[in-house]
Symmetry: C2
Amino acid sequence: MKAIKIGILGLGTVGSGVVKLLQDNAHKITNITGCELKVKTAVVRNVNAHRNVDLTGIELTNDFTKLLNDDEIEIVVEVMGTVDTAREYIKRLLQAKKHVVTANKDLIALHGPELSELAKENKCDLFYEASVAGGIPILRTIVNSFAADQVESVLGIVNGTTNFILTQMTQNGLSYAAALKLAQEKGFAEADPTNDVTGKDAAYKMIILTQFAFGKDITLDEVKLAGIDGIQLEDIKEAAQLGYTLKLLGIAKLINGKLAVSVGPVLVNNSRPLAAIQNENNAVLVTGKAVGETMFYGPGAGELPTANSVLSDIIAVTKDIVLQTTGSRFNDYSQKIEFAKANDIVYPYYLSLLTPDKAGQMLKLTEIMTQANASFKVIKQTGAANGDARISIVTHAMSEAQLNEITEKINNLAEMQLLAAYKVLEEEK
Amino acid sequence: MKAIKIGILGLGTVGSGVVKLLQDNAHKITNITGCELKVKTAVVRNVNAHRNVDLTGIELTNDFTKLLNDDEIEIVVEVMGTVDTAREYIKRLLQAKKHVVTANKDLIALHGPELSELAKENKCDLFYEASVAGGIPILRTIVNSFAADQVESVLGIVNGTTNFILTQMTQNGLSYAAALKLAQEKGFAEADPTNDVTGKDAAYKMIILTQFAFGKDITLDEVKLAGIDGIQLEDIKEAAQLGYTLKLLGIAKLINGKLAVSVGPVLVNNSRPLAAIQNENNAVLVTGKAVGETMFYGPGAGELPTANSVLSDIIAVTKDIVLQTTGSRFNDYSQKIEFAKANDIVYPYYLSLLTPDKAGQMLKLTEIMTQANASFKVIKQTGAANGDARISIVTHAMSEAQLNEITEKINNLAEMQLLAAYKVLEEEK
């Protein structure tokens, strides 16, 4: 039987999970691939650190070149994180004709095209299923099952940390600060949660999803980005009363053949399955012209779910090695496609405003809306503290250009404050 | 550029959809595969029938041997239905070294192992993604993404007709007969709905899912089978009051390493996403030891969703032709595994009973339950017509052996009638 030796960069949570799954499921993996897969070497910072996994037969080293120069090692799993060092290591590994599996979304979002090109030149596989939505096999599914379809949109909850925070605020009435603290205590948020709560992590995932669904490489500054760090509990409660749940959604969508990609808070109509995705779970909706709406749901992170996605990549590489077909890109679809303009990107919006509770304020607001040719679906005024009134609006669909006009005019009014302007995802037609 | 010629057996709904998608997405398919895919010949019963698709350049014939003997045709799509003729044709096609893609679940459930073996012998691909859950790419996902995991259960709504009927009964209070009639009017149920409403169609799909998830070939008589043809609206209403939605579920599950496969009505706790899957949609939950619970949701049937799954198979074959790697089984996983016994298969149950509204009846019932060592979670008595009382029970988990004992004893009581005994799927722990 062919034996395939594996190297691992990093033995943190995911790395340990990979070692564990390879041990636990060795029999099944051999049954499927006809090969024996064994981790030979792990490169770690501290070889003496205690690790919660059986490392018998695995050489631990802090010397990357030991792995790099070992001709026996055919597949390397990069789960060390970082961007620059990982990029450098992976380039050298590919040049040394080693196949690479990585879970590093930042790296792939920033340098995926360059690394994929290098892999192809060296007839190596470079797979990264675990980089998006943890345990949900969304990338390979898009490659395999939407190949003959035209994807119209990919949208979803692709960051478990923010979904946990929003779920806690929605279900238990926690403030943003209290929900963030709970997420940190439970290990769902890092000590520095910036990348998650600003939406940057979700944006990286949308960059990768966009490449797979639409065949276009985009950069972070081409994603219209908003986070949840400014979310008020008031708006979540108001949304609930109106029949919506606030979610941080990534949306990549074709509009008249042009692409718009955004990450931001969205009010999701409660009739949609997406509204019910709770806590650290992820869900990705892929709508194809032929197939219609499909949804893929599962754990967005965690040791074993993420390790399982890494393993599915390792098995895909193994099959390619056996069949001598390595060197195909993970996603071979590419097309030229322009970005949609602010005039084309049309959604209903939820607006919330604070204004002194006195005559004439609603008139000013309706004048602004009318000038922008925008119309209300729901408008609701309630009392607020200090003699103020709080106005909540759900608009009919309008363009980003209209929204910008309205926002600017409201901001120019001394007595009216725009608290929130979120997209709305209405029920499915 | 390499041109690949395709033959089609049958130009009904799905066949026409395949022709249409190949035309509409020719550019993208070429972009991905580097090949030009063209339908050359379609074998149909009536070459003169009107068809709602552009057939320019496609030869229509009622002579199967014309396709069989055409060396130019490399891939054949079987969407003609039937079991015996389709089996015979596919055998001859594989022997003639043609790759086959089929959407025929009855055929694959009954003769999949034989045909897969024959395909392998002839170094041909035989794919059938469209045979289960229409537009949901569940089979290839299990092959690719659960390869390194141990699947613990595969369960879900795999028949759109019955889910449509149950949704209409639940949401609009239709009787079973009225809901079935509506399904037939809307084209979701056939004139003879037997295969759908008895659960047989779902059982065929569970046979195929069991092969993929657990690597075991099973037969129809090894699936514990119940349909929805005896469902009473009363029980659906009662379930709703107790917080459950009645669904026809296929369940294939490992219990202490042994397999149990069933199809039947199940009360699904409303907190589960599965309870919200409506009308003709399908959803499959796959729970892996490592990855946890994942769910795949989408349209369960329909011209274009099903055709899209056929196309994903055609593209997979094309890639294999280009890479010269045809002849691998669709699913290469197999294991020896026993069936679980009635003592091991444990669920909570919903029971509904009719009894004269007089003293002592509840005592008899509780005696029977106690003798079987079974206990109640909920018990509820309401008045019924003709001086009868209706009793609804949700039990704690008990084995099929206990259920059988209880059922037999109740059936032996002259004055008590067991109306329903359905499994209960409680909220996720």
